[in-house]
Amino acid sequence: MEEISLANLDTNKLEAIAQEIYVDLIEDSCLGFCFEVHRAVKCGYFYLEFAETGSVKDFGIQPVEDKGACRLPLCSLPGEPGNGPAQELQRSPPEFQ
């Protein structure tokens, strides 16, 4: 195969090739970053990994409010009067006994 020589190229052409390689590397970095961000957004961890300051409210997501122990009848602890499940829910259905 015929050997290709850079020595025959003038400085301007050589510099143009160097610039093209540089631009290609920058584009690669930028695109890689875009894909990282997109993945983080779609997998749900963008605000953990990328948004170090601020909160989920910045993105229109309402933070979950901590209301203490759940007061739904089925979630109540046993022995707490008035909070237990309804009578018909306290026994498992016949087919499971």
Partner: protein, 97 residues
């Protein structure tokens, strides 16, 4: 003459990959961009883009269109100079391809 330059460009790219220099350049660029705060600046810009488009609706195309131009512009001159110098050194060392 233009055809020769195209062939030369392809040969250079192949040599960059074969020798592993392309990967080393990518890694160098990545490290420098983190060190100089480029990634942090882009993260901040991402936040704005995602707030504007909506977390649920942002697409890869949106991110590429908004982030890439900013990414290109934010690369510091010092990083650009260092990378170009590395590329020129590589071209000088591989004068015959």
């Amino acid at each position: 003459m233009r055809r020769d330059v195209q062939i030369l460009r392809a040969a250079i790219n192949q040599k960059l990959i074969e020798t592993g220099e392309r990967e080393r350049l990518k890694e160098l660029l990545r490290a420098k961009l983190i060190e100089c705060g480029w990634k942090d600046q882009l993260k901040a810009h991402c936040k704005e883009v995602i707030k504007e488009k909506g977390l649920e609706h942002v697409t890869v195309d949106d991110l590429v269109a908004e982030i890439t131009p900013k990414g290109r512009a934010l690369v510091p001159d010092s990083v650009k100079k260092e990378l170009l110098q590395r590329i020129r050194t590589f071209l000088a060392q591989h004068a015959s391809l």
